[in-house]
């Protein structure tokens, strides 16, 4: 029997102490927590920063590290945000501070999730076919040297194997950069020889913390007890429960196919999985199957720098202005083209997001009616920061004083909530690498080191 605890769905989302204490009373063999993702978009990988404030990461680690060390429970965590070397090091620095504060000595096996561009270029030159992980025109079908060179930096979702190497050394912690979320939970049970179908299914539920509980949240914990032929899963906060529906329906969450979950060397087949209410708050799962394939791939993720964004937020209330909104916005775009006639049009893009009309759904909006007021978000993306700001500023003055013949005055067509009106929204990054890299050795591109934190 193995007992595994996920103290939350994501590092920095909050680790409730009481739920952790309840879990520790159940004597877990392992605690694991995901801290990396692409969910929050490409910006963080490009800017090399975390969407969670470092203070939130510190708060969680300050709860976890002293308690887990005292209880002698090994901890596996992916760090942090995009999972680059820099965000991993920022997290290790926080861990050092926490360790010193509590006088802890922690032996950690550290795994980098960042992949060197030279390594990828060599692999492509050597003939590796690195196919895109999603069928989309935004990605090359097979990764090219140009894609790699255009990427600001590249990470890969390591599988369970590099983590297993660390666990064999008997460390207090394994700290990874970008990793497959399920790998954090699966490494230890796979090392112990448990059924891979059950292990991967259990891991898939645990990685989101209490998101699979009723009521769901990623800021609370989930506990699993793994046996040879089934596993039990329940939240440790007594105010939540696991139900057959909440656990079964979780296989839908953020997944393309609820019956099939691909991993590096096969897929989890949930078509025959069975869910039973074991007790009021616990669900028993059986029948999850692992179907191996004879190739091992990891997902590599990279972003390219696309330019700079300037934005402006304003409100429009005049009924005549709103009735003529499209012709006014098109007129403004035309004037920008004339005013910036020396700038090639492909060097910038203008988007008007009209909140209250169709900003959320765009062309698929079933009710594109303008009500009595609209919020207008002006988005300008340009090759150069100054150009984005200049175009957005020109749009500001032109739209504000736009002289449409139907308007009864052009003193000001817009209500601005604050000054400054035009805001620099920073660099724009887009995913240009999202491909499956075949590996002979699952550990090959992931650099590792053994370190002592604190003490």
């Amino acid at each position: 029997m193995l007992r595994i605890y996920a103290p939350a769905g994501h590092l920095g989302h909050g680790v409730p102490r009481e739920a952790l204490e309840a879990a520790l009373k159940l004597d877990p063999d392992l605690v694991a927590l995901q801290g990396t993702s692409t969910d929050y978009g490409p910006y963080y990988l490009g800017a090399n920063t975390t969407p969670q404030p470092l203070s939130a990461i510190e708060r969680d680690l300050n709860v976890l590290l002293p308690r887990l060390k005292k209880a002698e429970v090994p901890f596996i965590v992916s760090c942090a945000g995009p999972g680059t070397d820099h965000t991993l090091n920022l997290t290790l620095r926080i861990m050092k501070r926490v360790a010193e504060r509590h006088s802890l000595k922690l032996d950690a096996y550290v795994l980098s999730g960042e992949i060197s561009k030279e390594y990828l270029v060599e692999r492509i030159h050597a003939g590796a076919r690195i196919r895109r992980a999603a069928d989309t025109e935004y990605l090359s079908e097979f990764l090219t040297v140009e894609d790699v060179r255009n990427a600001v930096r590249i990470v890969a979702q390591m599988g369970p194997e590099p983590i297993m190497t660390g666990l064999k050394m008997g460390v207090d912690m394994v700290c990874t950069g970008r990793a497959l979320d399920t790998a954090l939970f699966a490494a230890y049970p796979l090392l112990k020889g448990y059924d891979k179908g059950l292990v991967m299914h259990m891991s898939k539920i645990l990685e989101c913390g209490a998101m699979s509980a009723e009521p769901p949240t990623s800021g609370d914990g989930m506990f699993a007890i793994l046996e040879k032929d089934h596993f039990l899963v329940f939240p440790t906060n007594p105010k939540r429960k696991a139900t057959v529906i909440s656990i079964a329906a979780h296989s839908f969450y953020e997944r393309e196919d609820p019956t099939r979950e691909w991993g590096p060397d096969g897929y989890l087949d949930l078509s025959q999985a069975r869910y039973e209410q074991y007790d009021e708050r616990t669900v028993m799962v059986t029948g999850s199957r692992w179907v191996p394939v004879n190739i091992y791939t990891v997902k590599v993720e990279g972003v390219a720098h696309k330019g700079y964004r300037a934005v402006m937020i304003c409100g429009a209330r005049d009924p005549v202005f709103l009735e003529n909104l499209d012709s006014i916005l098109n007129g403004v775009k035309k004037r920008v083209r004339q005013y910036f006639s020396d700038v090639p049009p492909q060097d910038y893009e203008i988007h008007f997001h009209v909140y209250g009309r169709d900003a959320v759904l765009g062309p698929i909006e079933p009710e594109p009616n303008v009500l009595h007021e609209a919020g207008i978000l002006v988005e300008v993306v340009a090759m150069k920061r100054q150009l984005a700001m200049d175009i957005c500023s020109y749009i500001r003055s032109t739209l504000f004083h736009y002289d449409h013949p139907a308007l009864r005055g052009a003193a000001g067509n817009l209500a601005f909530p604050f000054s400054p009106m035009v805001l620099d929204a920073g660099e724009v990054y887009v995913f240009n690498v999202y491909h499956l890299l075949p590996l002979e050795d699952p550990c090959e591109p992931f650099r590792s080191s053994l370190i002592r934190i604190g003490g």
């Binding site: 969910d39 999603a134 329906a249 953020e254 393309e256 995913f431």
Partner: protein, 101 residues
């Protein structure tokens, strides 16, 4: 009846940066099997509501949870200029009023 009246959950979210997915869980087993057997949620309908070519749409019915999973390409992936919804969290709306007869 409209879908919003027979479903316990209608939600949307990205699965990776490039795939938009929508989950529908239907309250009653009877209604779920009616939707499934009559194919009331089908590729044709999604293609029309979301302006996505039919062949790019995948629909999976999951009997054990009365669930329907719809997957299609994200029109503009997160980060792209003009992207409207980086999590794809509000893209289920066009389905809410689909008639369930």
């Amino acid at each position: 009846m409209r879908l919003r009246e027979v479903a316990s959950v209608v939600r949307s979210k990205l699965a990776g940066p490039f795939i938009l997915t929508i989950d529908v869980f239907v309250h009653s087993r009877e209604t779920y099997f009616k939707i499934k057997s009559k194919k009331l949620i089908n590729e044709e309908l999604i293609s029309r509501l979301y302006r996505v070519p039919r062949e790019k749409i995948r629909i999976i019915y999951c009997d054990h949870v009365n669930g329907i999973k719809i997957a299609m390409p994200m029109p503009k992936p997160p980060g792209e200029p003009g992207c409207r919804d980086i999590y794809g969290a509000q893209q289920h709306i066009p389905l809410l009023n689909v008639a369930i007869e």
